[in-house]
Symmetry: C2
Subunit: 454 residues, 2 copies
Amino acid sequence: MPSTKPPKGTKDLLPTAARQRQAIVDVIERAYQAHGFEPLATPSIERLDALLGKYGDEGDQLIFRIMKRGANLARALGKDPINQGALADLGLRYDLTVPLARVAAEHQNELPKHFKRYQIQQVWRADRPAKGRFREFSQCDVDIVGCASLGADAEVLSAAATALRELGFKDAIFHTNHRDVLFGLIEAAGIDASLEGSTLVAVDKLDKIGWDGVTKELTERGLNDTQIAALRGMLETDGKQSNDAVLDRLERDLASSQRGAKGVAELRQLLALCAHSPAADYIHISPFLARGLSYYTGPIFEVKTPQLAGSIAAGGRYDRLVGMFLGRDVPAVGFSLGLERLEFVMDALGITPQVGPAVDVCVATFGDLGHATMLASKLRQAGLRVDLHAEDTRLGKQFKYAQQRGVSLVAFAGSNEAAEGNAVLKNLATGQQETLALDGLVEAIRAQLGQEQA
Amino acid sequence: MPSTKPPKGTKDLLPTAARQRQAIVDVIERAYQAHGFEPLATPSIERLDALLGKYGDEGDQLIFRIMKRGANLARALGKDPINQGALADLGLRYDLTVPLARVAAEHQNELPKHFKRYQIQQVWRADRPAKGRFREFSQCDVDIVGCASLGADAEVLSAAATALRELGFKDAIFHTNHRDVLFGLIEAAGIDASLEGSTLVAVDKLDKIGWDGVTKELTERGLNDTQIAALRGMLETDGKQSNDAVLDRLERDLASSQRGAKGVAELRQLLALCAHSPAADYIHISPFLARGLSYYTGPIFEVKTPQLAGSIAAGGRYDRLVGMFLGRDVPAVGFSLGLERLEFVMDALGITPQVGPAVDVCVATFGDLGHATMLASKLRQAGLRVDLHAEDTRLGKQFKYAQQRGVSLVAFAGSNEAAEGNAVLKNLATGQQETLALDGLVEAIRAQLGQEQA
């Protein structure tokens, strides 16, 4: 017999968890809609060539590949030697940003000049599962395509910050940096541009492995002691400086780098644009933040909370990704919340939304299933959420079933009540029970539900 | 450059389409919730061994298979000869019923005795795309696990019928039959039980290929003329008989078959249980309906409309599917609406839900981006859905952008207005424009939105 567990790195959401997730998604959607974003949905599967080469080598390895089918598969298997890459033609979506870039390129002439879309869908990565990290997980993305202004960066920051604020996140930190600041650091430290990538990968681990670890890694990657000391001098901080103080220092340190100075100026402008938005409370300039994804070109963001080692959200500007589908660049910036990670932290903080019973009243079957179905239909017509216990078992068992579903009210009619056009309404919480004409039943149910909520 | 089209058999939902779909899903969810169902979500990927052998040979061929990764893939490719089946370990979900059966088996001790769940998620089939038929599509399922009573069948019928009624489907037909009636027909026609499967496959095509086509196919499959004539005698109908008349005739024709008679009796009972539900208007007893999926054991349903050759919904009782995961049978019955097919027919009928603008007011940038972001934040705090045009281009261009997004109201402040704490509110539909104190702005926007809706 096959296993009844979901595959490694995935999970089933039973009703309460599914309803709690829906409550969280509702909050996020409202925040995104308040910022003028509209929904987009793209297929879960993409052509492999649309996915490959967008996420760096490591990303390419983590894409779930879907095998070719029928004759195409036979052909690929018939080759000697077999080309592994030719066995698959499709892949599961790795993020929601690349599909957006594809859609923006495909529909460039129909979309508004600034395309503001949100997208809440699943993505898949064949990663090692860990706390809050799944192989199938949901991203809640908000992006603006077609706007080069830093005002767009401020918009997505505001949308993401509003969502987190409304969900109850108080101590989230939006670590913020800029690709040009990172480049400026490399330049100012006298490190060759060819070593930029490997240097940033090492620096990005600073909060995990500390300066000793980073120094060791940088040495291995070919940096000399002078360069490492220069980098450290620019990046070391007590973490208590104000954003303005950090920017002032970076401005001095990166004065010799034109790109670095531009990055600092943009971060300063971005901070000013966020002054009146909910993002103001969360933003923290973090010069050593280097996002792994290779497609970022401007400001970059990563949101952390004390409850989880990994980030719960991330984003940035990626002005060259749409160009990979279109042949000419289109500016774009976005933010992505990781739903499962939000859920993990909310659970740890005890701020998961509570959901009430899914049912207003249960109808029990008491001798005549036909009469019970009629009663249930009548109550549904009145707009109530009604569960019908469709088996004529002992009433006591049916009451237990209602309680198991979190429902206090049970309606039923024996042959006497049915003959007189009445029904019995029992409140399992209070033990009260009354016989009512069918016309008065709905009103009585509404009244008792109102008392429950009060 | 990679193609910007979505993969074959899939589609992107641009904002209006995505919002229309959400409106449809909301109606379906409300109908399901009114019947006491709660949501479940399962992973898109399942272990291949959970999927294979549940949908018949043809179904197995249509499952999208996900390649093994890393060392496991290398091992599978290193074998000589290569075992195709060993190259993949996971598959994309083919329907929502098998995952439900897996979940019901896994959580048998935690779930209510009658587990009433709905599930609105995507499924994938490597089928030939056609009108309303996609390779990635969405099913809206409603099932009851753990209840053997026909009342459960009536419940899922009522839930599905309510959803279709609320969506505006007037001429849908719920073709209804019973596996035991089909078996009875085979028995009463003197056909060997071993030919049941192939006979039913042929009979199921009756409305596509007519009696001539069916006769030809049955002959090829080994039935003799007497058997075919007997079948035809029992099945031929002018399509105008009442459900009761069809059942009366079946009762006579199948009197010699114990299982057949039981099937007829159950259909009669089911009809009676639906008398007061929205399903009453839709149900049509169709003795030649034979659903393709092999897991059905009792009543079976297929919903058709004149606008589409294929069915828009289907369902039935499958009392042995959970047992394939659990080792002991658990009764279950369910219904599934095909979302893309509903959308196709609703489009043809002109009953697709209309959605209004996604934004209440646009804020234009007029010289000072910082002031515009402040204005947008203020309006959002008041609960409005606000788009900020974050580029300081000509106002006329910004008005055009707002109109492109379907928004009539634009707010902005030049340096004079900003200095005096005012803003301009322009109505692009009426051409009216007024200068207001910030405090009065929200009220004025609300008033004009109210007029628009009226």
